[in-house]
Amino acid sequence: MPSSDVVVVGAGLAGMTAAIALADAGARVDVVARGHAATHWMSGGLDVAAPRGSVSSANGLARLASYPGHPYAFLHRDVRPAIDWLRAILATEGLTFAGDLDQPLRTVPTSIGATRRASLLPTAQAGALEPWKPDERLVVCGIAGFKDFWPGAIAASLERPWVWGGTTDAGDRRSPAAVEALVVELPGIAGRRNLTALHLARVFDDPAWRVEAFGVIAAALRRRGPGPGRIALPAVLGLADHGAAFDDAVRALPLIPFEVPLISPSVPGLRLFEALRAGLRRRGGRISVGEEVVRVETAGRRVTAVVAAAAARDRVFRTSGVVLATGGIAGGGLIGRADGTLVEPLLGLPVENPGAGEWLAPDPFDPAGHRLEAAGIRTDAALHPVDGRGRVAFANVAIAGSLLAGQRYLTERCGDGVAVASGRRAAAIFALEGARPPTERVKAGAGA
C-alpha cells in the first residue's frame, strides 16, 4: 500500500503549488526536496510573462503562447485561474499581492540602481508599481552597516530617467521627479558591521524595536523637508511578523514605503516559501526539506517508490504518482556535462537541448539569451515526459516548473507563471487520471 498518493520532488514554487493543489483535492501528498529552491533567491514577486516588447503580462503571455514548444503553448489558459487561486491561498497565510496580468508592466527599481519590469508584486513591494506623479520624489534609504544595499550608488543611478525606460508613449515620465539617498543608523545595531538581510528581517519582527526604528527613519525624512514621494527600503521588513511590520512602516513614515528585493537570501522569497508551506500543512500535506531523492523504483512505465537519503538511512516513499519539480539548471534538475549535453539525473529522462554541445553566448547578459536556457524535459499536454518520438516515458510522472522545455525564464521572465500553471495542472491531471493504479500493479512494483 503506497504511503503517498503523490510524491512531489522539489520544494520550489512549482512543487509547492502542485502539492497544495493535490492536498486541496484530498490526496495524501509528500514534498521531498534536497534543499530550498529558487524562492529563496528570487524577488518574491510573480513573474508571469515579460518578454521584451510586451506591454502587460497578459500581452506577454499571449505572445509566448504563440511559440511552438513553449510551455505556455498548452498552459496559457491555466495561468490566470491558477494565479488567482494561489493568491487567495497565500492571502489566507498573510501574504498579499498587488497588481494583475492586465495592467501595464512597470519599471520598478532594483538594489543595483537598475530597474526590472513587473506587474504582480507582494504588497510590500507594490508601492513601486504606481505611476509617478510629476512632483513625486524617491528617497532610497539604506541602513548603516548593511552591505547589500548602497543607497548613494542606487540613487545616483536611478536619477537617470532612461534607466526607468524614459517616457511613455503619452509623454509621461516613468521615473520620479528626483531621487535622493539616505542612510540611517538604527537603534541597537549602530556600529555593527556585516549585517545580513536575514539578521535585519528578524530584528524587524520585534514590534517594540521596529516602532523605534521607523521613528528614526521618519525623523530623518522630515529633516529632508516636506513634499510628496516614496521611500525605497531594502527588503528586510520582518519575516514571521512581516505583515504587521509593513503596516507599522506605512503608519509611521511620511512617505509611501516600498521594499526593494536584494541579492540572496531573499527575505521576500522566504516569506513566499513560508506561506506556501503553511498552506500545504493546513491541507494536511507533508514536507521534508533536506532529504535528497537519490533514486526511484519503477515497474514498467510507472514509478512505484521514491527513495530519499535521510539523516541516518534511506527513506522510501511508496507512491502512485510523482510530480517532478526539481528545477532547471540552476535548481539541479538538469546537470550539465563536460561534452555540452544535459542530463536529468533522477529518472534519466531525455533532455531536449537546443544548445547541446555549444558554448554559452559570449556576452553573459546577451539580450537574446543563451540557447541552453530553453533546455528541459518535453512533455505532452498532460505534463507526462515524452521521448524524442513523443512516446510517454513514465505514465504516472508529471513535470512542473522550470524543468519544462521550451521556456526561457531569464529572457522571458515567465518562470513563476509556468511554475504555478504547470504545478496546478499536474495536480489536476492526477485527480483526473486517478493517481491510484490497480492494486496488482502496486504489488508488482513493490517487489521491483
Binding site: W41, A330, R337, P364, A368, R413
Partner: protein, 549 residues
C-alpha cells in the same frame, strides 16, 4: 603634448621582469620610469600556474635552467617570503610515465643541486590521499607557490622608495630614433588620452610576448614565438603540495595549490598574436584527461574557470620543423632567458630587450638586464636585489593558508565587513587598495585583493564592490562609469567560466545570471537605454528557436 620628460631609463612592461628591472636599476641610483599598457601583472606574469620552480622540471632536459631555478628559489624565499606559500613539491611516476625517466630523475636533480628525496609511495599517499594509488615512485623537491601580483607590487614599492616612478595604463605608441639611439618615446595615458614624450638615456623592453611589437617601433626585428598555455582552476585544494608528473614536460602534468584553489597546467599552443587567442574545448578536455592520471577523481571536482597565458618564447635560430612539432617551435624552445643588446647587430645602441624566461627567475633576468644597461650608461654600482628583502614582507615567514582568516579575526571577526566572502576580502582591505590605486577597475582590485576569485566568481561581491566605489567617488564618478565597472567585471569573470560551464559551475553561473537579470535587472543597465519600448522584431528570438527538436 607639452614638455619632454627626461629619465635615465625607460622600462616598458609591468610584469615581474619589468618590476624587477626598475627595482634593480633604482637601487643602483638610476632614475627610471616604468610604463605598463594595462595594470601590473595583467600579461604573462599574472596568467601562469603560480609555481615557484625548484628546478626539478628542467633537470633532465635543460640543466642550466634547473640550476638557475633552484638558485633563485632560495633567494626569493629570503627576499619575498610573504609572496610564497612553502607547499613543497612532488614528482610522481604514474603508470603512464616512462620508468627510465624516474630512474634518472634523482641523479639529475643532484647534478643540478636541486634538493631531492625519494619517498615511499605509501608516505606520499598518506600525505596526499587524492593522488592516484597506482603511482609507482615519488620524489620530494622544494617547489612552492608564488603570488605574482604581490611580488610585482613589492618590487614596484621598492623602486618608488629609491626615487623611480611607475605608471600603469600607459602604452608606448611611438619611438623616435636619432642616429644610433632612441631619442624619444611617446606614451599615452590610456585613461585620459594624454600623450607624454619621454627622453630616456636608455630603453629596456621587458614586454615579454609583446617584445616583437615593441622592438618594431624602434625599427628592430625580433621574432617571438608566443606560446599559449591554458590552465584550469579547481575550487578546492585536492593537494596541499605541488604535484608534477615525473616525465618529460608535457600538457596537463602539474597541479599547484594556490590560496584556496588548485591550478592544473598547462597546454602549449603556438599562436600568432599575443592579444588574440581563445581557449578550445579540446584543450580543456586534454587537461582533464591528463589531470585524471594524477587525481583519478578529478572529473568529480568542481572547476571554477579556465584561463590562458602567453609564454614569451624566443629562439634566435629556429630548428627545422619535425613531425611532432611541425612549426619547429613550442616545447622545444628553451625556457631560459636571453638579454638582447640591440647595439651591434641591430644598430640601436641604447635599447635592450629581455625575452624568454619564467617567473621564478624574474630577479636574475632583471639583474642581467640591468648589468647590460649599467655598462652602457657607465654605472658601476653592483646589483643588490638578491640581498635586500623586499618591502612588506612581514616577519619573514612565508604565507600560510590561514593568513586571511587571521587578519579577519584581528579586524573583529564576525563584525568585520566582508565584501567578498569567498576570498575573505574585508571592507577595510578594499578601501586600502582603493586609497592607493584609485582610479582603477574591479579587475585591478581583484589582482590586488583576490576579490571575486572564489566559487561564485564575483556573483555576490561585484555589486557590493561597485557600491563601495560609487559611494566613495560619488562626486567625481558618473553612474555610467559605475555601470561599466560592474558590467566589465561580471563579463571578465564570466569569460573564464564559459569554457568550463558544466556541473556545479554551470549551476552557479545560472544562479548568478538569474540574480542579476531577474532580481537586479542588470539588462536595464547593459542596454544603456532601459528595457522598455524595444522594437519587437529586434528583441524577440524567433519562434523557430522554440521549435520542438
Amino acid at each position: 603634448m607639452t614638455a619632454v620628460e627626461a629619465v635615465d631609463v625607460l622600462i616598458i612592461g609591468g610584469g615581474a621582469t619589468g618590476a624587477g628591472i626598475v627595482r634593480d636599476l633604482a637601487r643602483r641610483g638610476l632614475r627610471c620610469l616604468l610604463v605598463e599598457k594595462a595594470d601590473f601583472g595583467t600579461g604573462t606574469s599574472g596568467r601562469y600556474h603560480g609555481l615557484l620552480h625548484s628546478g626539478g622540471r628542467y633537470v633532465a632536459e635543460d640543466a642550466a635552467a634547473a640550476v638557475e631555478c633552484i638558485a633563485e628559489n632560495i633567494i626569493l624565499r629570503r627576499i619575498a617570503p610573504a609572496c610564497i606559500e612553502d607547499t613543497g613539491g612532488w614528482f610522481v611516476s604514474t603508470p603512464d610515465d616512462p620508468e627510465d625517466y624516474a630512474d634518472g630523475f634523482a641523479a639529475a636533480c643532484v647534478a643540478c643541486v636541486v634538493p631531492v628525496d625519494e619517498v615511499p609511495v605509501a608516505e606520499l599517499l598518506r600525505r596526499e590521499p587524492a593522488l592516484n594509488p597506482q603511482i609507482r615512485r615519488a620524489f620530494r623537491v622544494p617547489d612552492a607557490s608564488l603570488e605574482p601580483w604581490q611580488l610585482i607590487e613589492a618590487n614596484v614599492a621598492d623602486a618608488r622608495a629609491h626615487g623611480s616612478e611607475v605608471r600603469p595604463y600607459h602604452r608606448v605608441v611611438a619611438m623616435e630614433r636619432v642616429g644610433d639611439e632612441i631619442a624619444t618615446v611617446d606614451v599615452v595615458d590610456e585613461r585620459s588620452g594624454t600623450v607624454t614624450r619621454i627622453a630616456p638615456r636608455a630603453v629596456v623592453s621587458a614586454s615579454g610576448a609583446w617584445a616583437g611589437i615593441v622592438a618594431r617601433m624602434a625599427g628592430v626585428e625580433l621574432a617571438m614565438s608566443p606560446g599559449k598555455g591554458t590552465m584550469l582552476i579547481f575550487n578546492q585544494r585536492m593537494t596541499d603540495t605541488v604535484v608534477n608528473r615525473c616525465h618529460p614536460p608535457d600538457d596537463g602534468d602539474i597541479m599547484v595549490p594556490v590560496h584556496s584553489v588548485a591550478i592544473l597546467g598547462t597546454t602549449e599552443v603556438t599562436i600568432d598574436d599575443p592579444d588574440d587567442y581563445g581557449i578550445g574545448r579540446d584543450e580543456v578536455e586534454l587537461l582533464m584527461e591528463e589531470g585524471t592520471k594524477l587525481f583519478p577523481d578529478l572529473r568529480r571536482m568542481r572547476l571554477l574557470r579556465a584561463y590562458a597565458g602567453v609564454r614569451p618564447l624566443y629562439q634566435r635560430d629556429p630548428p627545422p620543423a619535425s613531425a611532432d612539432d611541425p612549426s619547429g617551435v613550442g616545447r622545444g624552445i628553451s625556457r631560459s632567458h636571453v638579454v638582447l643588446d640591440h647595439g651591434a647587430p641591430d644598430g640601436v645602441d641604447n635599447f635592450v630587450s629581455i625575452v624568454g624566461g619564467k617567473l621564478t627567475t624574474y630577479r636574475l633576468m632583471a639583474e642581467e638586464t640591468a648589468d647590460v644597461v649599467c655598462a652602457k650608461l657607465g654605472v658601476t654600482e653592483r646589483c643588490t636585489t638578491a640581498d635586500e628583502v623586499l618591502p612588506d614582507q612581514g616577519d619573514g615567514r612565508t604565507y600560510w593558508l590561514g593568513h586571511r582568516l587571521a587578519e579577519h579575526e584581528a579586524e573583529g571577526g564576525g563584525d568585520a565587513d566582508l565584501i567578498c566572502e569567498c576570498e575573505m576580502v574585508t571592507r577595510s582591505a578594499l578601501d586600502g587598495f582603493l586609497d592607493e590605486r584609485w582610479p582603477c577597475s574591479l579587475d585591478d582590485v581583484r589582482r590586488g585583493t583576490r576579490l571575486g576569485m572564489g566559487p561564485c566568481q564575483g556573483g555576490f561581491c561585484t555589486f557590493r564592490a561597485a557600491g563601495v566605489i560609487a559611494e566613495r567617488a560619488s562626486a567625481s564618478l558618473p553612474p555610467e562609469a559605475v555601470d561599466r565597472i560592474l558590467l566589465d567585471f561580471l563579463a571578465e569573470r564570466y569569460r573564464g567560466t564559459r569554457p568550463i560551464a558544466w556541473g556545479r559551475q554551470l549551476q552557479e553561473l545560472w544562479l548568478v545570471a538569474g540574480l542579476y537579470t531577474g532580481v537586479l535587472g542588470i539588462g536595464a543597465l547593459a542596454d544603456g537605454a532601459g528595457e522598455v519600448d524595444e522594437p519587437l522584431a529586434a528583441a524577440q528570438p524567433g519562434a523557430a528557436d522554440h521549435a520542438v527538436v
